[in-house]
């Protein structure tokens, strides 16, 4: 029986923000605590610590400095990487496709192959490299799992990523040279790598050729199709896209074509001969600027003002959670340019902007949900449940997550699937978290407070419940708060002093299923 889950909407953090402040939220703006929480989840993938919450509760003006500090947290690198997956859609792809070669990979190899392009984003943020390294860097991340999958020399660091030079003759150009990326965005003998060219435009310029009004009508007769190759060079409706698309496509012939038969390690080989051959199909060019190879393409792409703007848009829309108008994007783009093309500079501009602080509830990204819960419960983020949350297609889809393939984007609208996913999640980790925390030395416990775990006296129990709401919902409540009353009632109904283990597990499960834990 769960009696305390239905926390009323008014159950918001109690924050002493009455004093006038230069940083006081404007109308429609998040409170300082909520702003701190949002930024912490977005930038670090965890909720604010108790001390951070207390600091901002005491002085709302302290929030901005803390938030700016989050940008320099090492964990921002991985958060930024996942944010980029909304643009690249590689992470889950190797698990989603059914090509034979992919099925032979282990789960760890599939995850490594999918995350490899994102690992470059993580490296760029971690090292504060200019974002142009996305398409110009001479090395790419490699770990032992990816090396095993692609038949490369393992760097010997296990699952850790190591920046590695290419082992074959592919021209180095950041992600443009990535075998992972061009396996996800594959080509075949008939499309002349146009799909890859469009991916370059979509991923790095935020311009999808297929979104153009004059995009190709696929409903053509056989006779019309037979004349298509001629049409794409001559017909105005075709040239709207193909004049830019086809010369760009000519640069990607060196990457393997799609095959349901070949071993994956063979599909990752770059062929200079095939690259040269493809360049004979059309003279390679980047929107009217001839380029001779992928390295030159990367350099040219990096010089294109659309590239930086797209990078700023990717991070900003990823952190803000919705599309931005050009006008809304301008300050973030300016921050990128003024900040030496640093993504951290963009992040600082984003999280301190009014647009970011707007009081609109957002769905927590799945990777941040996983890492924040693991952190809040004191469990390893590498535990099976939390990894499943991110990497299991079944759990991901149940919770509205995209699969980077047939349904690439997350579904943020709450649904039955979310509730089922959260019920599974709560059941999977609640008892484990309490048991593990009980086994810790008293001073190291994070769920229990001083004294014996599974307390049965009301005073201590209320202290524990306040702590849990702080850790799981970033709330600063008093022990007499109605929400704590409700949880105490649940505790009593679920076993109470007669069965404290069941009572506490039920309470934690209830909090883990709290809808506000998925919104921020």
């Amino acid at each position: 029986m769960i009696v305390a889950c239905g926390v009323p909407p008014a159950d918001r953090p109690l924050t002493p923000e009455a004093a006038p402040s230069a940083k006081a939220p404007g109308e429609g703006q998040l409170s300082a605590i909520a702003w701190l929480t949002r930024a912490s989840l977005d930038l670090r993938g965890v909720r604010p610590s108790a001390s951070e919450l207390a600091a901002v509760a005491a002085d709302p003006d302290a929030a901005e400095a803390l938030i700016l500090g989050f940008v320099d947290d090492a964990r921002f690198a991985e958060r930024a990487a996942w944010t980029w997956n909304d643009r690249l859609h590689t992470a889950l792809n190797f698990k989603s496709t059914t090509l034979r070669g992919y099925q032979e990979l282990s789960d760890a190899q599939k995850e490594a192959a999918g995350f490899a392009p994102l690992a470059l984003v993580a490296w760029i943020v971690a090292e504060d490299q200019p974002v142009t390294a996305l398409v110009t860097n001479t090395t790419l991340p490699l770990n032992d799992d990816l090396a095993a999958a692609f038949g490369l020399t393992a760097p010997g660091q296990g699952a850790d990523w190591v920046m590695s030079a290419h082992e074959d003759a592919r021209p180095p150009a950041g992600l443009l040279s990535s075998a992972s990326l061009w396996l996800v965005v594959d080509g075949d003998a008939t499309n002349h790598n146009r799909r890859r060219a469009n991916a370059v435009s979509t991923m790095f310029l935020c311009d999808d050729f297929l979104s153009r009004e004059a995009a190709f009508d696929f409903d053509l007769s056989v006779e019309e199709l037979a004349a298509m190759e001629e049409a794409v060079r001559t017909q105005p409706a075709c040239l709207t896209c193909h004049a830019g698309l086809d010369p760009l496509a000519a640069l990607f012939g060196g990457f393997a074509e799609r095959s349901d038969q070949a071993e994956l390690s063979r599909l990752t080989v770059y062929s200079p001969w095939r690259a040269e051959w493809a360049m004979g199909w059309r003279s390679p060019a980047y929107f009217g600027r001839p380029v001779g190879n992928l390295t030159e393409l990367g350099a040219t792409l990096a010089a294109d003002p659309r590239f930086g703007r797209c990078a700023a848009r990717t991070l900003a829309e990823g952190l803000i959670g919705e599309p931005l108008s050009d006008e809304e994007l301008n300050p973030y783009h300016d921050a990128l340019l003024d900040g030496g093309l640093s993504l951290r500079a963009v992040a600082r501009a984003i999280v301190t902007s009014d647009r970011y602080r707007r009081d609109d509830e957002r769905a927590l990204p799945i990777d941040a949900l996983s890492s924040s819960l693991a952190n809040a419960l004191g469990l390893s983020a590498e535990g099976e449940t939390f990894l499943s949350l991110i990497w299991s297609l079944e759990h991901r889809r149940l919770g509205g997550g995209g699969d980077d393939h047939t349904a690439p984007d997350d579904v943020d609208e709450p649904g039955v699937g979310h509730a089922l996913r959260d019920a599974w999640l709560a059941r999977s980790v609640a008892a484990l978290a309490l048991t593990q925390d009980a086994d810790r030395a008293p001073e190291s416990r994070i769920l229990w407070i001083a004294g014996a775990p599974y307390p049965t006296d009301e005073v201590t129990a209320r202290q524990v419940l306040v702590r849990w709401r702080q850790r799981l919902l970033s709330e600063q409540l008093s022990q007499s708060d109605p929400s704590i009353d409700a949880l105490w009632a649940l505790w009593s109904a679920a076993g109470g002093a007669a069965d404290p283990e069941a009572a506490w597990t039920t309470c934690l499960e209830a909090l883990l299923r709290h809808p506000m834990g998925r919104l921020y």
Partner: protein
């Protein structure tokens, strides 16, 4: 009313990226275009170049070859701000008329932003681009092939083709057996540029390319070899098999036409190189190729170019050609 007339006129004239054969704007038109604008802060880098790259420069560029301009008139080059200023009035007219690019498609917001920048006189400094080295001009021989359908009798089609260039000139004849459900390659015979016979490859049974139930092939070949006694014809029999070759130089395949069955760098792919790149020629199959006696199961992935002769209608479903487009 005058605006409507202009649109109609330009619409009638436009085709391809070019056909920019419109009269220069009159002074009256320029006055209409020169609406008061807020020009502060407008730059080429932010306001002009992105739109020009997206919608114009792929054709209107002085940096690409004339044949790649898709009809854009020579000299009307918009990849630089200097080029835009040189043709400023003309560009404004075309953007206002909405007939450039010829099929339209520029979202209204982008069009408005571009027009604002243009009407402000195309302000801003040039952007510095990296130095690039355009790819070598493609070997012309790769595209120099002509294929014709020489005959179509009793379900059997003969294709004759000639190829020039780095193979020093080759001609071949292919015999195909075509029904409503399958197409099979019966033989391929090759001559050099002097007309001397080079090789004959016969497939028995015919190499069925649009069916998956063929389980065994034996391939008989005849070809000329040269030794101390001169040229002699040799006969060979061999089977399709999967080899370890990676990154086979496609040109070497072309240069040794008897090896028309070869593996691509991707492995497990059968490529029939029936000519240079571009026309009728490169047929790619995916399959579990194995030594003779084992199952041979192929899927036709497609051709780089299809039969274009109006005289030849392959009687099979070719809807797969939609793959040619971006997916």
């Amino acid at each position: 009313m005058r605006q409507l007339t202009l649109i109609t006129l330009f619409g009638a004239l436009a085709s391809g990226c070019g056909r920019d054969d419109v009269e220069a704007p009159t002074d009256d038109t320029k006055e209409d275009s020169a609406l008061p604008q807020d020009c502060d802060g407008l730059t080429w880098e932010r306001d002009g170049l992105p739109e020009m790259l997206t919608w114009c420069a792929a054709c209107h560029s002085s940096l690409i070859q004339p044949e790649d301009r898709a009809g854009a008139p020579l000299g009307v080059d918009l990849e630089s701000v200097a080029g835009v200023r040189q043709h400023l009035d003309r560009v404004i007219l075309r953007i206002e008329a909405g007939d450039m690019p010829p099929a339209g498609g520029v979202p209204e917001a982008e069009r408005a932003r571009l027009l604002q920048w243009l009407r402000c006189g195309a302000p801003g400094d040039e952007v510095v681009w990296p130095t690039t080295t355009p790819a070598d001009a493609p070997d012309e021989s790769w595209d120099q092939e002509e294929a014709v359908v020489a005959g179509d009798t009793a379900g059997q089609v003969v294709i004759e083709a000639a190829r020039l260039g780095w193979t020093d000139g080759l001609a071949f004849t292919e015999v195909w057996r075509v029904t409503t459900t399958e197409a099979s390659l019966v033989s391929r015979e090759v001559w050099d540029s002097t007309g001397a016979w080079v090789s004959l490859i016969s497939f028995e049974p015919p190499l069925t390319l649009w069916r998956a139930d063929q389980t065994e092939w034996s391939i008989a070949t005849e070809r000329l070899t040269e030794d101390t006694t001169g040229l002699t014809a040799v006969e060979e029999e061999w089977s399709v098999s999967l080899g370890p070759a990676i990154d086979v130089d496609p040109r070497s395949l072309e240069a040794t036409p008897e090896a028309i069955v070869a593996l691509s760098s991707a492995g497990d792919l059968l490529e029939l190189h029936l000519g240079g790149q571009g026309q009728l020629i490169r047929r790619v199959y995916s399959g579990a190729f194995a030594v003779e006696g084992e199952e041979l199961d192929m899927t036709h992935l497609g051709n780089t170019e299809l039969f274009t002769s109006a005289d030849f209608q392959l009687p099979i479903d070719l809807k797969w050609r939609a793959k040619v487009m971006v997916r």
